[in-house]
């Protein structure tokens, strides 16, 4: 039973980690573009 719960916890954590990494990659790519625009002075200031 404990082993089963352990495996379930591991699978949940793995799922969170993989989905999280995918989403973080999207954030990373979007912020790269925003950063480049900011450094090149093309960004709209303080957009929410």
């Amino acid at each position: 039973m404990i082993s089963l719960l352990g495996v379930l916890l591991v699978r949940i954590l793995e799922g969170m980690f993989v989905v999280g990494l995918v989403g973080s990659t999207v954030v990373l790519l979007i912020t790269f573009v925003e950063d480049a625009e900011l450094l090149l002075g093309r960004e709209d200031s303080n957009h929410p």
Partner: protein
Amino acid sequence: MSSPLQPAANLGKRVRIVVATSVMLTFISFWRAAAIVLNDLASSAFYACGIAEQAVGKSAPWFIVGVMLFSFTVRAVYVESCSMFVRGGVYRVVKEALGGTLAKLSVSALMFDYVLTGPISGVSAGQYIVGLLNEVMVTADAHGWIPRAIHNIFHGTPQFDVNWTSVVFALAVTIYYWWENIKGIHESSEKALWVMQVTTVMVVLLLGWSAFTLFKVGWQHVPLPTPGNLHFSKESLGFLHHSFPDQSLAQKFGILGIMIAFGHSVLAMSGEESLAQVNRELAHPKLQNLKKAAIVIALYSFIFTGLTALLAVMLIPDAVRVSVYKDNLIAGLAMYMYGPEILRLLFRGFVVVVGFLILSGAVNTAIIGSNGVLNRVSEDGVLSDWFRFPHRKYGTSYRIINMIVGFQIFTILASRGDVYALGEAYAFGVIWSFAFKGLAMLVLRFKYKGERGWKVPANFHIGKYEIPFGMASITMVLLATAVINLFTKSVATISGIAFSLVFFAIFTASELINRKKHALSQQHMNDQFQLLQRDTVERESLRIRAGNVLVPVRDYNTLVHLRWALEKFDIHDQDIVVMSARVSRFGAAAYDLAPEQIFSDYEQTLFTRAVSVAESFGKKVSLLVVPASDVWTAIVQTAQNLESSSVVIGVSSKMSPEEQAFALGQAWEALSEPKRQFVLQVVHPEDHLDTFRIGPHTPTMKDEDVLLLHRLWLSITREPGLENVHHHEILTEALTRFAREYGAREREEILKELKRTGNATRLAGGPQPPTAPLVRKEGGDGSFPDRGP
């Protein structure tokens, strides 16, 4: 905006105190802010990869690179929190989103992070220094430069015990910075910028030389970060080692192996919290500058920490990388560059110097940061006022500093110089404070309705609901890593939880005690004082006349200067303003203080004494409390805003009057135009007085210069048509001619002559005190004698 905090009833009986709630700061550029953060963040490059490789094997650099890429997204979380709260640190954000209990837990984790930053940095710096000393001795012995007798005593080449010598070094650095902080060290962004400039020189040399070496001698393969390439040590599996003693865990759960390795590498991004702490000091436009600082920080640490980790595995042979250089990997990298040995040894020396600068700076940052955070939670009533009681001589919160440094010394000794053990424990504080932060920010996406200058991207809408996919993703990675670290870092889990629980218990008990105590003292204070809140200090709204006398007070036992001011100044002509600056140093994270927090028990006692002194003279004084990052800045900004003509201070126990005037003059120079001059009067306990003019002023003239000017005047006024010429017109003509000659070909000659006469004057008058260019010392009786002819 201003709003009385108390009802109007019985106001006549109470003393009115104006409490300004905006901290007075000198604002800094995004470069300086980035330098302050990088002094903490970039220091992990010196030990992160060595620790990660011991835990997960040769593919560790890829995980360090992955963590540094992920740190770009953590930085985005901090930018969003700082765009919502000027002090968007962990405590503020978690308290806002998840309540006081979890805020106390998150601060406990953050304290664990801070307390370990000092020991890991100090011990790591020691490892680099001792490593170099031992290497130098090996080289010297190989050349026969070590006498045979010494060689015989040590039964070979003399070598220091690396771990214990590092412990001694770490203790020495920690004790040094403990004393500096007790005295009240001034943390300057200038110094942080300088350290980062030197570090940048090293990074450029390191990367350039490494590229050349790769080209000349080739490189070793760095295994890709796949489950099959992971080789966990017994220690790096922690509690899971008992369940999977055959090391097959990574293969059994492929992604779990990646998560464990990622968890062993997260300490590479420690230090992001400092971004929230410097945000308040960033110059306008704040959000733009915050973003720029965050970009600089993320790029720099990615290049330095990430690429250095990769290069270390590519260039240092497997046989020596972990066995010899695991705790001083960059030094090892220097030794395996392509080139003559002497050059490599010299470069290693440079690496050690830079490592010493940045790592010992991190020891100091850890003390300042944790002192700031504990002061902050203390102001919020979560830590007993006893901790915040100022040092009798230096006015610093010495009890908090003693407690932090006590923990650090205990940690250094308990670690016995083992950087790996320290790093494993350190990661606990780092990942849990980030996980709390991410979770709180996610909750605030639904809970917080106030202003938000920027959002972590990747948000989409379902109907009228916004789904924060990006923020949720970052939080999931942080939480999953934090949970898995609980199982794989047994030492960190036990020590981290024990430490956090101790702090949590202290916070909870203090809060209960404070709640009862504050209810009583609040009642007493309400009877005596009326607090009026103001966002900024403005003369008109405070009903104070221009030309007033500002009297800063700090210690209620030394109010001699207030007595002097009350005795000397007529309040019919000039108002007297008694001011207390509530210093909130860099690192005092979290959020704007409520007036009751700024006006604490200490200020209450201080102002009670000040009012009592004023009453003994039968004179009225105006009372003012201002929060500030620096006392001198607070004084000059208040004097400027109130249009004060004089500032009266007591002589300091740690600075001479000249040094006090110098510090005030420097703060005055940092003010923006237009600036007002004022007179600084430093009162000695025996009523003796030193007087200085702050701001541009008429220079002191020697008697012979005055006579020369007068003789010239006599001579010129004898000329026909020049009978009515004034002394000042002659001076104007002389100075105009001087400026013309100085700007032309006679510049060098003038400078040479000035050096000669300057040296002669100094030799005649003995050593001179430091004097700011815009500070002039006047007569000892406080008068300004008219020296004009």
